[in-house]
């Protein structure tokens, strides 16, 4: 998740602020995991990141990073699946930042970077946090892409829904299933409430921009 945050923010920034040919394509690519069957996403990841593929081989040689059947693979799958949701939420909050305030900062002698750190970022912070929480919840629930890409190995790549699925296969483990499902519901509800609260807080501030 921590690796996905800057990536998602960069995408959100580009999609919210830049205009360039092929933007529709980038937009579509980012949103693909949202509509594609997760199994297909997992399979595509498998193709791209297996040690025999160019990208996977490069990462292994350069950084000793392997994704297949490792927890890193589960994390990557979760991040890719959470990306569209995070990008959407962040893009909304960035578009909500008043450009006139950024312009005011520029006339006061602040360069683009100082303007970004002191004006744009604080004003969109709640939206970015809401996106993070939402992305986290989404990635905790990730099933299809993970099982396809990183398999279901207890203690290595077994995510919460994968554990529930495994427990369901074993007769007489109803209690186990109920416990895991309860945990899952609690996490999801907490994440939703938190992100709603954050989003609403930023909405209030938006109302106060116009002074």
């Amino acid at each position: 998740m921590s690796a996905a945050l800057p990536v998602a923010f960069a995408f959100a920034w580009v999609l919210a602020r830049w205009r360039f040919p092929g933007k529709v394509l980038v937009d579509a690519m980012v949103h693909l995991p949202l509509v594609l069957p997760p199994v297909v996403t997992g399979w595509l990841l498998l193709l791209a990141f297996s040690p025999n593929a160019p990208l996977g081989g490069l990462l292994e040689r350069a950084f000793g990073l392997t994704f297949l059947f490792r927890w890193t693979g589960a994390a990557l799958a979760a991040a890719i699946m959470a990306l569209p949701l995070m990008v959407r939420a962040m893009r909304l909050s960035l578009e909500g930042v008043d450009r006139r305030l950024e312009n005011a900062a520029r006339t006061l002698g602040a360069g683009s970077w100082r303007t970004f750190v002191n004006v744009t970022l604080p004003l969109s912070l709640n939206g970015v946090l809401a996106a993070l929480v939402l992305g986290f919840a989404r990635s905790v629930g990730e099933f299809g892409a993970t099982i396809t890409f990183a398999s279901n190995i207890p203690g290595e790549t077994q995510t919460l829904p994968l554990a529930i699925y495994s427990a369901l296969q074993v007769p007489g483990s109803d209690l186990q299933v109920a416990r895991l499902a309860g945990l899952s519901v609690m996490l999801s509800v907490a994440a939703l409430v938190l992100s709603e609260w954050l989003a609403r807080r930023s909405g209030q501030e938006k109302g106060r921009h116009v002074i």
Partner: protein, 207 residues
């Protein structure tokens, strides 16, 4: 010469063209709303790029399409008092004032606070200020950035009655004591005649 401006702005379908020069003191851009007075200020501040022309303020070239000069807004050293003020909502008055603060202002921190009478407001948030208070903070923020010239867009638009007279006096003092070139936008004839050394009617020539 304080201002030497000749430029074309493309706003929507029709290009707007402005040409004027002005000497020291306060120069009022006077005209009906919708004539593009604010666009003109934005161009001088560097927030809006003219399609062609030149902008020279106090012998400094800000923009010149022929010579490919286009200074970034943060290097133009203008103190811009926006019509909608644009105080940062997430920063206290003090931190708004500090944001653009530069050493070498004609008026130091204490004098500015004193002149504007905003000492009691420093720890308030912009959302809690009245129109007149917010106006004075916005002027203070512009002055503390050590500007080489001021741009003021309808600074009396959001104040009325007693406050209005107060701000008018304040602007007169800024004009007379700081000796900064000021470009002042208004649609009020009485206000303009009272304040301005030079009045530039803004009725854009349409191609």
């Amino acid at each position: 010469m304080s201002f030497d401006i000749a430029l074309t702005l493309s706003r929507g379908e029709r290009p707007l063209r402005y040409t004027f020069t002005a000497g020291a003191g306060l120069t009022a851009l006077f005209g009906p709303s919708g004539a593009g007075k604010t666009s003109l200020l934005d161009a001088v501040a560097g927030l809006l790029r003219p399609t062609e022309g030149h902008i020279v303020v106090a012998e400094r070239s800000m923009f010149d399409s022929a010579a490919h000069i286009d200074l970034k807004p943060e290097t133009r050293r203008c103190g811009y008092v926006f019509q909608d003020l644009r105080l940062f909502p997430h920063r206290s008055v003090r931190r708004n004032l500090e944001f653009g603060r530069r050493q070498g202002a004609t008026l130091d921190w204490d004098h500015t606070i004193d002149l504007l009478g905003i000492a009691d407001l420093l720890d308030r948030m912009p959302a809690t200020l009245s129109g007149g208070e917010a106006q004075r903070v916005a002027i203070g923020r512009a002055l503390l950035s050590a500007p080489e010239f001021l741009l003021m867009d309808e600074p009396l638009a959001s104040v009325d009655g007693v406050r209005r007279e107060e701000i008018l006096r304040l602007i007169e003092r800024i004009r007379d004591e700081l000796h900064l070139p000021i470009l002042y936008v208004s649609h009020d004839r009485a206000e303009v005649e009272r304040l301005a050394q030079t009045i530039v009617p803004v009725l854009p020539l349409v191609d």
